[in-house]
């Protein structure tokens, strides 16, 4: 018969960890905003015992500092050696003098430092820190002072900044974008591989294209989706989270009336619903599709397929820069890659320079050909125009009453570089 085991519990520290603050002033954490409140997450400690547990983010291989508050009673005020074990980081022991407020029971914040670096790769790291007080040299038992649990994201590089003359970027990002991109691009170590991983996984966010009236990143996050303006900003911020700058570009419909009264073109037309949308969110309208070819030889008439269905229409406006579609570009190793987050498309290599952000410049014909072949022919089903079909003029218009009427829809793949001596297709590029 064995002797009875000791029933004396191991001693515990006379205080316990109350809060851990990573994004404190002077710390190395990346600034994250909560889309719900639009406040910085690190305004207050990310972890508060039984109250709050928010993600913190650092550039990979950072050796983080954290500001820690303990809870105790004035009766145990004194000087202690405190540290923490854990994974994937531990905290250097430090001798601190703690005085607990008689009312709240809280100490003043003390800054501690990890005793090693965070993982040297993109990722999300569930982290547990077992806080203790050292009373005797190792390997003696250390009375525990509570456990804090955290989710720490490590990004590839510090938040990207914009090269001149591109529009500047904020020095913070929205938390979900940091969390998602650190998950999707975990282990990647290259600008293009990271962007490819993001575009490949963006649908898993559940966010949708085609949510009407949404134009900003925050609104997109709060409304589970948005239109193309919101999406190209969101994809840019996703890449920014990992320290990568991607360009924003809008290509706008160039409403061009030619000699015979035809207009090439009036609107971009897309049949697919886009990211996490089964069908377009635009109202159905009556289209007149030319599925035979373009241009239509003079005096000839092609059969037209009339169909009423939902399609996205991005209209132009005579004499004005109006609407279009928004996409992103990455310059990588001297090559240009296109990402269209609205439709989850990319990377698409475009054998052309980055489009110049200048709405006064018309790009068409041969200059547009690489972009058309690489992207437009696959992403955009139709262009809507006002076009003669034999004796019939299929006219697209919305002015002056802004009741939208479709003329002829021509398949993008049928539009040739040159139509009747002019550029078959032209766009104007903005940012």
């Amino acid at each position: 018969m064995s002797s009875p085991a000791s029933t004396v519990p191991p001693p515990v520290a006379p205080f316990s960890v109350y809060s851990v603050h990573f994004d404190f002033p002077g710390g190395q954490a990346i600034k994250l905003r909560d889309p719900a409140t639009n406040q910085f997450i690190g305004t207050t400690p990310e972890w508060v015992a039984s109250v709050r547990n928010e993600m913190a983010a650092y550039v990979r291989a950072t050796r983080p500092e954290m500001r820690v508050i303990f809870r105790g009673t004035p009766a145990v005020n004194g000087t202690y050696t405190v540290g923490a074990d854990g994974m994937p980081i531990q905290v250097d022991e430090r001798r601190v003098t703690l005085a607990f407020d008689p009312g709240s029971g809280l100490s003043a914040p003390e800054v501690f430092r990890a005793n090693g670096n965070l993982p040297d790769q993109i990722g999300l790291h569930p982290t547990t820190l077992h806080w203790y007080v050292r009373e005797m040299p190792a390997p003696a038992h250390c009375p525990p002072a509570g456990t804090s649990t955290h989710l720490i994201a490590t990004s590839w590089r510090a938040l990207a900044t914009a090269p001149a003359p591109e529009a500047g970027l904020s020095n913070w990002v929205y938390r979900p974008l940091m969390e998602w991109t650190c998950r999707w691009a975990a282990g990647q170590n290259d600008e293009k591989a990271i962007c490819d991983a993001i575009i490949a996984s963006v649908a898993s966010s559940g966010l949708r294209y085609g949510v009407l009236g949404i134009y900003e990143v925050r609104d997109l996050l709060l409304n589970q989706g948005g239109m193309c303006e919101a999406w190209y900003k969101t994809f840019q911020q996703m890449a920014q989270c990992q320290g990568i700058f991607v360009y924003r570009r809008r290509f706008l419909v160039d409403w061009r009336q030619v000699a015979n009264g035809e207009v090439l073109w009036c609107a971009i037309v897309i049949r697919r619903g886009g990211l996490n949308q089964a069908v377009p969110t635009h109202d159905a309208s009556n289209f007149h599709d030319n599925h035979v070819g373009f241009p239509i030889p003079a005096g000839m008439a092609f059969p037209i397929v009339n169909i009423t269905e939902r399609r996205y229409r991005f209209w132009g406006l005579p004499h004005y820069h109006y609407d279009g579609h928004c996409i992103n570009f990455l310059e990588y190793n001297g090559e240009l890659y296109l990402y269209d987050a609205c439709f989850g498309m990319g990377p698409i290599q475009v054998n052309a320079p980055l489009p110049v952000n200048n709405l006064n410049v018309v790009q068409g014909g041969a200059n547009l050909a690489p972009f058309k072949a690489a992207y437009l022919d696959h992403a955009i089903e139709y262009m809507l125009g006002s076009i003669w079909n034999g004796p019939d003029f299929l006219q697209s218009f919305h002015v002056p009453a802004f009741l939208y009427v479709n003329g002829m829809t021509v398949r993008m793949t049928d539009i040739t570089q040159v139509v009747n001596g002019h550029d078959g297709l032209t766009f104007r590029w903005g940012n």
């Binding site: 529009a167 500047g168 009407l212 009236g213 134009y215 900003e216 239109m227 193309c228 303006e229 809008r250 706008l252 969110t281 635009h282 109202d283 996205y312 991005f314 406006l317 005579p318 004499h319 004005y320 820069h321 109006y322 609407d323 279009g324 579609h325 928004c326 952000n357 200048n358 709405l359 006064n360 919305h398 002015v399 002056p400 009453a401 802004f402 009741l403 939208y404 903005g430 940012n431």
Partner: protein, 175 residues
């Protein structure tokens, strides 16, 4: 009796006469006659009001809304393009103010493009860009003092949008 630009002014009003949300198409139907022909005095005033508007439009969400730019910015974009198209750089000060203050990089960039194009198209006549605060008595309330920006052109002072017309507008274009 309906007033001019009723839908547009209602959508921009802080305290509209009715609570009705407007459709984007209604706003554009108000705006299009203004921007598609040489500007009238009323049209010019409307465009200036649009580019000075800092609130949110009271709009019903619909698929006819623009997609690549928020409606407020799209309206300003069209107003600035129209001012550039029909008055050259007469409102350069207003254009630059929008360019410098808008949080939208897309709109700021577009304003720059409009200014660039206007400079290329219209004859260059150096105009003093001085402006000063003046006080005038409001006709609605004689005791109320209204501060307005005053612009000067060839020695003549005028309140923006109230400059006397000349026969050939193109000759009026300055930068």
């Amino acid at each position: 009796m309906p007033t001019a630009f009723q839908a547009l002014r209602s959508a921009m009003a802080s305290f509209p006469a009715d609570k009705q949300e407007r459709r984007w198409g209604e706003l554009m139907a108000d705006l299009w006659p203004v921007i598609s022909a040489p500007l009238t005095w009323e049209g010019e005033r409307l465009l200036l009001d649009v580019i000075r508007f800092e609130g949110r439009l009271r709009l019903a969400v619909s698929s006819e809304m623009p997609h690549s730019m928020p409606p407020e910015e799209m309206l300003k974009s069209l107003a600035i393009q129209a001012l550039g198209r029909w008055t050259g750089l007469a409102y350069l000060h207003e254009m630059k103010r929008v360019q410098m203050t808008t949080p939208s990089s897309s709109l700021a960039s577009l304003v720059g493009d409009v200014i660039q194009k206007a400079r290329e198209i219209h004859p260059v006549v150096q105009r003093q860009q001085a402006s000063e605060e003046i006080a005038e008595s409001s006709p609605e309330a004689a005791l109320k003092i209204v501060a307005r920006l005053l612009e000067k052109d060839r020695g003549m002072s005028f309140v923006p949008g109230r400059r006397a017309r000349v026969g050939n507008r193109e000759r009026e274009l300055v930068c």
